[in-house]
Symmetry: C2
Subunit: 454 residues, 2 copies
């Protein structure tokens, strides 16, 4: 181990409390990207990051404006022009903390209980951003960087990264890199450092069912008019068969088959039925037959209605009923094909007593990481050094829109990892960051940046 | 026709514009009983009525406080102590006008277009209250009343009359009467004066389905956990068979069979399939096979989910999903039995992946009017005089909680009629009152009060 690396690791340990204090400050900013009233807070988070990056004495730091929330850019060059450039990706926006009443503490007043830091964004994704900054800082403070580093921190990940693509096109040269490290993908457990080799794609849309031309008194029309709420429930109910398979015609036709190696690897991961039950609090799992829970989550598609907003307490049969639906896509499923499958389902299954329409459709495909992609070996080695175990090679069920856009526009591949844990309640109440894991993660990132040039 | 009756009818005609102006003023009060923020407006409507009744120089007028909104009481005695006492029932509260955007005009700024007066409450029920007041006023101003008259105007009809029962018990003597006229039941068409001989009962409850102990990211758990929204939709979907019959075990067992006379009478009413289609704007009707639309609405039960509030735009599988459900009960269906049928359905149909519970259950049975009940002949004769046609004898699909409570506590029977029309959009946007019908109704009420002692 070189002296510089030793010094960098030492600096990481000594700097830990200072970085944690900074993270706590960062977490007080309510940068909720889907809330128009929080626009100022979102910008304040971007500016906070600019100020923080300036402490690194970077070659450049900037805010790139977009049609939505701004993108933060930073750059620190390696003295050796032949060294690779790593783009470190994170997002400074957070999900809404609603319902506030379900939190034990104020989501924007970070509190440490035991080993955990509780706050909205602690794990997703501000803690991850700070781990990357701290790792770069430790190396850069103690000697020359072994690689060039760029930062890309966006403010719209939680709303599907609608402005990122144009920003990448507008700044293609500035963002040019050899590989991307994306620490927004999490890990399987505190003792299981993880390289995520797959992300599911996503389609998102509103299904609207319409009936009468005005709300009708349920006394005067109950039993005579097909209630759009019932019709919507019937359509949703019919989207899965009794065993949990999606019924849209052709839905599974193009889904990638698992290799037997993949199947065996997944069976060894510490995510069995019992762990899913424990994390979720349900008494029994559910889903497509013939696959393990982890396979259903990681490499099989899933259809979830995430919201229904229909009717009112008034005793009336409403004009319409709407459901907000997401479909997590498996590799090789094409969003446009999936939309056709949905239309085919609706055309054949909707009764003639109501009409349907699809609103606000959006979609992007799944991504897969090849095992010999740049940086994979460096990351796995860093994890082995810190955790002393063989890292998990894991297909996540999540979806990160930025990954596909970066691949398409910059031509760069993303390494997907991170230090959030399955029980961190990201997107839910009482989101937390497990601090010992976060510290290990920061140390591992120091090794990773070094490993890239060994 | 007596001179007094002639004078009273003349007074009704001459007073029409004045009463209409008063009604317009009354309609500017946003007395929305289910809105806590409108509590002051609800009280203001009660006080408005007290002031209006005082113009009749009554023997007594008062506000009775309840745990909820107040009840307005008024009394005008007949000089002849052997004359019967008629209790005139109405409600001064209104449904919420939401969604406001669907109204063409401000719901609380009454506007006349052609023959119609548009405002929330114009037809349901402030216009009906003013018709009763105007009829009593016309007779009382021009001579002695032929009967004693009492007024009962409640402020909680639209929320199921939760405080009325206790108020009736507290003031049993003051409300004592020989019969009740309830003008909140409407009529079948402008040329079809109507005596409503049946009202459906109602059960109302929330069905809550619960799953995981916290909201779960749909990327990490989609395909693994049974989404409570899906489970709720499956349960709702299963509550009707493909043809529209309710599937709760034993649901139809105690429903009263129609008589053949009733069937023939209903077939003659001006409410055929085409009229339901025209009123609702749907392309095809729906419901229990083997019955006409009018029969399904009037004498058969109906189950309607009137609201679903579940999930959020966050990509999460939620902790729970709730549906607000109403069941319109046919005569002889017992609310307690219906609850048992629901429980039986839920126990056998809910998958073991989720739990269910029933919240906020309330229920009251249907009511039926015998054809020889007091006042029936007087009302039918009044309608024949004014409209020149044989009145319709009609089983309404609606539900009025007050009717059962009055029968039970005061021992008095309610005559159900009214001058709102099927196209008046009560409970919906652009509620209106058809003024020529309203004027005829007022005249008919003058005749009715006279007919009671002929």
């Amino acid at each position: 181990m070189s002296q510089h690396l030793k010094d960098a690791l030492q600096h990481t340990r000594e700097n830990r409390d200072e970085v944690l204090a900074q993270l706590r400050d960062f977490l007080t900013i309510a940068s909720i990207s889907d809330d128009p009233d929080s626009k100022g807070e979102v910008r304040r988070a971007a500016e906070w990051l600019v100020d923080r990056l300036k402490l690194l004495k970077p070659d450049r730091v900037d805010i790139f404006e977009t049609e939505g929330h701004p993108v933060v850019f930073g750059e620190i060059l390696c003295p050796d022009p032949s060294a690779p450039t790593v783009l470190l990706y994170g997002h400074y926006d957070v999900q809404s903390p609603e319902p506030l009443g379900s939190w034990d503490t104020d989501p924007f007043q970070p509190v440490i209980h035991g080993y955990n830091l509780f706050a909205r964004g602690s794990s997703d994704d501000k803690g991850q951003i700070m781990a990357m900054i701290a790792a770069v800082e430790a190396i850069h403070t103690t000697g020359p960087l072994p690689v060039s580093v760029k930062f890309l921190f966006e403010g719209e990940e939680e709303i599907g990264s609608p402005s990122l693509g144009q920003c990448l096109k507008d700044h293609r040269g500035e963002f040019a890199c050899n590989l991307v490290l994306n620490t927004d993908a999490g890990m399987l457990g505190p003792d299981t450092p993880t390289l995520v080799y797959g992300l599911r794609g996503m389609c998102r849309f509103i299904l609207r069912v319409t009936g009468p031309t005005s709300d009708l008194h349920s006394g005067g029309y109950g039993g005579v008019i097909h209630n759009p709420i019932h019709a919507l429930c019937e359509l949703i109910s019919g989207m899965h068969d009794k065993e949990g398979r999606v019924t849209w015609p052709g839905f599974y036709d193009s889904v990638r088959e698992m290799t037997s190696e993949e199947h065996d690897e997944m069976a060894e991961l510490p995510l069995d039925e019992a762990s899913f039950i424990e994390q979720s609090g349900v008494s029994r799992l559910w889903g497509e037959p013939g696959f393990t829970p982890l396979e259903r989550q990681g490499v099989r598609p899933a259809l979830d209605v995430i919201q229904i907003d229909a009717g009112s307490p008034k005793a009336a049969i409403p004009v319409d009923a709407q459901a907000l639906v997401t479909v997590r896509l498996a590799p090789f499923q094409d969003p446009d094909e999936v939309r056709k499958q949905l239309v085919s389902y609706l055309e054949t299954q909707t009764p003639s007593t109501v009409q349907w329409e699809i609103l606000d459709w959006s979609g992007f495909p799944a991504t897969l990481t090849e095992r010999d992609a740049p940086g994979v070996a460096a990351l796995l080695k860093a994890f082995e050094i810190i955790w002393g175990v063989r890292p998990a090679y894991y297909p996540s069920g999540g979806s990160i829109g930025a990954v596909g856009q970066i691949k398409e526009i910059l031509g760069a591949h993303s390494l997907l990892t991170g230090f959030s844990l399955p029980g961190d309640h990201i997107h839910g109440p009482n989101e937390k960051l497990h601090l010992p894991t976060w510290e290990k993660g920061t140390m591992a990132l120091v090794h990773f940046l070094y490993n890239l040039v060994e």
